[in-house]
């Protein structure tokens, strides 16, 4: 009997000892993000944090098409599987008003982040409602729509001569959408399997909307008044319709079957030698400068979104901020991690690894702007970005836009004005339903 009691006590002791030792190393943080290169860079970065503090940080990823669904399913279940999320900018409204994100206003003010980060990234990745001074995320990955192009096609003397003869001006990086359209038309040669341009057309999430709004903004249009939710006369203004019409014109010069394309296909348009120019978010450009993934890496150039007819120049904002999830059991640890993340040296390392820092100081540095062939274009773009609605019902609003513009751009049905009139009507009904008009 004594033996049995001794064994049981020893066993309990051993179990407790093991349990204690496990708990000592048990500090862990899980960051949820989409599956792409920046998430890999972030994992590399946070390994430094683990080395410094002993806190294991895992960047858990899921493919882009599942990202929103998986994140919100976890939020809605009030699950604690993730401690932090690098959520899309348009999630801010839903994340903050529905209680999924921790209020970071005090943290933001204490560290004077409004002076540290680029203004656009604070406005679109962190603050909700706009102008309220309430912050829900720390800008993490800056991103926006930019363009890659085939330098060798553009610089070919014969092509330059032929272009000048046809259009009356020099073939060069397009400064306006009209020039971009001309160049796309010029290089559109289906018989040679060469096409003018590759643009986003997938309407299952925000791809096509981001491409279209880049054109709409540059043509002087807007999606609405984000403060008052007014859409009539703004969403469907003549300028907005002209921007959408330009996007439709560009679609004519895309490779065949370009009706469900996003970042993968738009990069393939360059790596496969298909198109002269290709739209993509800057964060998807690293494979284009890598000879292993792009045989034309040496002759691939980059430029920022061109201007509209009145010289206005904007680009759709991508990128994300990092938020602490309300249901996390490690909120204090997550806040400590954010304190480490916003340090100047961390931001510098983040940029060196390939992440798009939002720190103004790093962005402005010569080292950053010359680090890759596209960083300068990225820097230019980050000071002319605009975003989609971040209202909590953004998913419904996004779907309505997709439903209306896709048949026009890809299906050739109706006119740009009709598509935007319908969008304005749908949005007005939706905002009325959610009592946005006081």
């Amino acid at each position: 009997m004594r033996k049995i009691v001794t064994s049981v006590i020893a066993g309990i002791g051993l179990a407790l000892a093991c349990g204690t030792s496990v708990r000592a190393q048990d500090k862990e943080l899980t960051i949820f993000w989409a599956e792409w290169d920046p998430a890999n860079y972030l994992q590399e970065l946070v390994n430094d944090y683990t080395a410094e503090t002993g806190v294991k940080v895992t960047v858990q990823t899921t493919p882009w098409p599942d990202f929103q669904t998986k994140a919100f399913t976890e939020f809605n279940a009030h699950g604690d599987a993730y401690d932090l999320v690098v959520g899309d900018s348009q999630w801010l409204g839903a994340g903050s008003t529905q209680g999924h994100y921790v209020d970071l206003t005090d943290f933001f003010n204490q560290h004077k982040l409004a002076d540290v980060m680029a203004p656009a990234t604070i406005k679109y990745y962190a603050e909700y409602p706009g102008g309220s001074g309430k912050y829900w995320a720390i800008p993490l990955e800056g991103d926006a729509i930019g363009w890659s192009y085939r330098k060798d096609w553009f610089e070919d003397p014969k092509e330059k001569e032929a272009f000048k003869a046809k259009y009356g001006y020099d073939l060069d990086i397009p400064k306006t959408y009209a020039q971009l359209r001309d160049i796309a038309e010029f290089f559109y040669r289906p018989d040679q399997k060469r096409y003018g341009v590759a643009i986003y057309t997938d309407n299952s999430y925000d791809a096509m909307a981001m491409g279209v709004e880049s054109a709409i903004f540059s043509y002087g249009g807007d999606l609405g008044d984000y403060a008052t939710y007014k859409v009539d006369g703004i969403t469907n203004s003549k300028d907005a319709a002209a921007g959408l019409d330009m996007y439709k014109q560009l679609y004519k010069f895309t490779p065949p079957g370009w009706g469900k394309t996003f970042f993968v296909e738009d990069n393939q348009a360059i790596t496969g030698g298909l198109a002269a120019m290709s739209m993509n978010f800057f964060a998807f450009f690293p494979p284009l400068v890598n000879k292993a993934t792009n045989p034309y890496a040496d002759v691939t150039g980059f430029f920022a979104n061109p201007a509209g007819p009145d010289g206005k120049r904007f680009a759709a904002l991508g990128g994300q901020g990092i938020s602490v999830i309300s249901y996390s059991k490690n909120k204090d640890e997550a806040m400590k991690f954010l304190e480490w993340f916003i340090k100047d040296e961390t931001q510098k390392k983040w940029a060196e690894l390939g992440g798009y820092t939002c720190s103004q100081a790093v962005l402005k540095s010569e080292a950053f702007q010359s680090a890759t062939p596209y960083n300068k274009a990225f820097y230019d773009t980050m000071f002319m970005v605009k975003d989609f609605w971040a209202t909590p019902e953004y998913a419904e609003v996004l779907d309505q836009l997709n439903q209306n513009i896709y048949p026009f751009v890809v299906g050739g049905k109706g006119t740009a004005q009709e598509a935007l009139d319908k969008t304005a009507a749908d949005w007005k009904a939706t905002f009325t339903k959610y009592n946005r008009y006081k």
Partner: protein, 301 residues
């Protein structure tokens, strides 16, 4: 000695000898099944019915409110939803008709002896064993105007099947026909093999034509099983999601299941999506009931 005595008894008596009555054995199988059915089918069904009368949104923390029939009213007066139903109806008709014709045609061809019949039958069954999402992606490549073999074989040049609003739905339906015709073929083969041979022999003696034999003997005797295939395939086609979702984003190919998914998991309009699911359920039940009534009539003949 006791075990020897037990083996001489019939199964029921053996169970009784062990102390298990028929009732016990029946309950052992039925109770877990019923419990499973209630927990995973009936309970969610009733729960979601309740939600369909509320403004519940799974992504909001605020409490939900009872809104009566508002969700149903809004859905039934929404042009987009009706457009989704029209698209779905078109898809069901094209896809199911295609599967019935191709599947039954293949069964007629296979209902005779020829070399390697077993191997060919097995190969023909392969499509329906694949994952629908994989089939969707596979056919997306086949339809590609740049490198897909379909345009090359039929000399269609740059015709963009999936980007064209007029052809996207039919492209998806063709894929579904490819995938599910083998199912119809399998059921039809079972039906064809059950037709008594002496009827064909009698018809041959009377010098009946092939068409006469087909319409007067084969079709009437196989039609009950064809109707069963039709019921299954109609129900499945009505619910098609994965193939269409992976292949195209054309609004002209947005089936009701895709709309339901967007409503539920992209817009988090849970109450309304539950109501839409019930509208779809009622429609499928109504169509199925029509088929079943007709099936019973056919059986009575």
């Amino acid at each position: 000695m006791a075990s020897v005595a037990l083996t001489n008894l019939d199964p029921a008596s053996r169970a009784a000898a062990r102390g298990w009555s028929d009732l016990t054995i029946r309950n052992m199988f039925i109770i877990p099944t019923l419990a499973f059915l209630i927990v995973f089918n009936i309970f969610p069904l009733i729960y979601s019915l309740g939600y369909s009368f509320t403004n519940f949104a799974a992504n909001r923390s605020e409490p939900w409110q009872f809104v009566g029939l508002q969700n149903y009213r809004e859905l039934l007066s929404d042009d987009h939803i009706w457009s989704n139903f029209v698209i779905t109806a078109k898809y069901v008709i094209v896809s199911v008709a295609g599967q019935m014709i191709v599947g039954f045609g293949l069964a007629l061809l296979l209902n005779r002896s020829f070399p390697m019949k077993g191997l060919i039958t097995t190969l023909l069954l392969l499509p329906m064993m694949m994952s629908a999402a994989v089939v969707g992606l596979f056919w997306q490549l086949l339809y590609s105007p740049s490198w897909g073999p379909i345009n090359y074989v039929f000399g269609l040049g740059d015709f963009a099947w999936l980007s064209n609003p007029d052809s996207a739905l039919y492209a998806v339906a063709i894929t579904d026909i490819w995938m599910w015709s083998p199912f119809v073929m399998l059921l039809s083969l079972a039906g064809l093999s059950a037709v008594p041979q002496h009827l064909y022999e009698a018809a041959a003696i009377d010098r009946a034509s092939w068409w006469y034999t087909f319409t007067r003997i084969t079709l009437p005797l196989v039609s009950p099983i064809l109707l069963i295939a039709l019921i299954f395939r109609t129900m499945e086609a009505f619910k098609t999601f994965d193939i269409a979702y992976t292949m195209t984003t054309q609004p002209t190919a947005e089936l009701i299941a895709i709309r339901l998914y967007k409503q539920a998991f992209q817009q988090w309009d849970t109450g309304k999506s539950c109501a839409l699911a019930y509208i779809v359920l009622i429609m499928v039940l109504a169509i199925t009931n029509l088929y079943v009534k007709y099936l019973n009539k056919v059986k009575e003949r």
